[in-house]
Subunit: 242 residues, 2 copies
């Protein structure tokens, strides 16, 4: 069975990209070097901020997303993934520029909840203001007959502070204040009925982990990693004899 | 200050490559996405085993090392690093095929010990049979006026079992038996006078960490990550104002 070469367009941010790589490694059923996947990573830190572009007229990340994905395609990637939820605002336009499939992290995350948690009806979303403003998770959840529970403006400010502040996750701080802010926002979503919480920004699982809150946390990065392994490596039934 | 684009030829193994990426992230003085490095990773799991080639006439990894490094160069990498100690047997021949500098993990590791531990005279080496057979660390240590303390054949078997066995590090097992085996080999080197131990295979720091033995452990991966950040990002004095 030939495995497909995986392309990862990263840098949004870099720690989240390394985290995705770790997840892929842990999910790959490898017994030696050769069982692992061919993974091409283009970690480009200069993609303009997605939320800035969507909400505040900042420079568009689209040209960099196209160039970075096309470079991966030219290097031999047979599928591509982008570990940044907000960047999925550009998914359809970006897929149209590529000859290889572009995985859809948000769709994979919602599909995972549908399959793994059939009893869940109300799903909380911890995400950036950009991701929330353009309804990426809300549309996908409603399409799957799930009720999105989204943060109020106050809570969004807390999430953005956890991610972007000088002492935030993008600055390499994952303990203390960022975790507290995310827990506060999460508890508010639970107060509004959320039975599970999507960690809908790839920085969030760097600070908030299973056990920090009394509901299941669904990492979008992990859902993406699972989809990558599934599509690149073959179906689980083939794993016994790779 | 323009940062240099970093190329990483990985897959030897994949978990060690992800570990190097993590180390680079932690060593980069970044306050936001844009401060991070442009990192291109070509994680090719199909590079033939280096020790097999050196000791047992297995297929040579050299053609794959050349193709993989040249792909990184073509993608825009301005320096390249290979997180596999044994692969450094091919360093000079590989550098000759490239127009960009190829970092030398073994040289960086020994230079780190010279600078950070000026009082140390005897250095133990935990490495694969391939790395040890071709004297990669021994030559470099002696050239730096340090005395290599190398494992006996029995100890080498222990190290190889920890890395390659069905329940070993390359199969994803890092706790339990692999750690015990490495600790045993490490204690024997200490018994022969080693004042510090080089973790001279990039799989080893996945199982053996500071505190597991009562001497300082020097990870070759970490020395390589430090060299990457130094050469790509500029000198520490420039870090305050990137």
């Amino acid at each position: 069975m030939r495995k497909k070469a995986v392309g990862v367009l990263g840098g949004m941010g870099t720690a989240a990209t390394a985290d995705l790589f770790n997840q892929i490694v842990h999910l790959t059923p490898a017994r030696n070097d050769q069982d692992h996947l061919h993974i091409l990573i283009n970690n480009d830190p200069e993609v303009p901020d997605r939320t800035e572009a969507i909400l505040h007229g900042g420079p568009s990340p689209f040209p960099k997303l196209v160039a970075g994905s096309q470079l991966l395609q030219a290097m031999g990637a047979e599928l591509v993934a982008i570990p940044c939820n907000t960047a999925h605002y550009y998914w359809a336009d970006l897929q149209a520029t590529l000859e290889i499939p572009l995985l859809h992290m948000i769709r994979e995350t919602v599909a995972f909840i549908r399959t793994a948690m059939p009893e869940v009806a109300r799903v909380g979303v911890l995400a950036t203001s950009g991701t929330l403003a353009v309804n990426l998770y809300q549309d996908e959840l409603l399409g799957a007959d799930l009720l999105p529970v989204t943060p109020t403006s106050d809570q969004i400010e807390r999430i953005m502070e956890a991610i972007y502040a000088k002492g935030g996750i993008k600055a390499g701080i994952t303990d203390g204040r960022p975790r507290e802010l995310l827990c506060e926002a999460g508890r508010m979503l639970m107060g509004h009925g959320a039975e599970t919480l999507i960690l809908g920004c790839t920085e969030i699982p760097l600070a908030l982990q299973s056990g920090d809150l009394p509901v299941p946390l669904v990492s979008a990065s992990e859902a993406l990693a699972r989809a990558i392994v599934r599509d690149a490596y073959g179906s689980p039934s083939e794993w016994d004899d790779p």
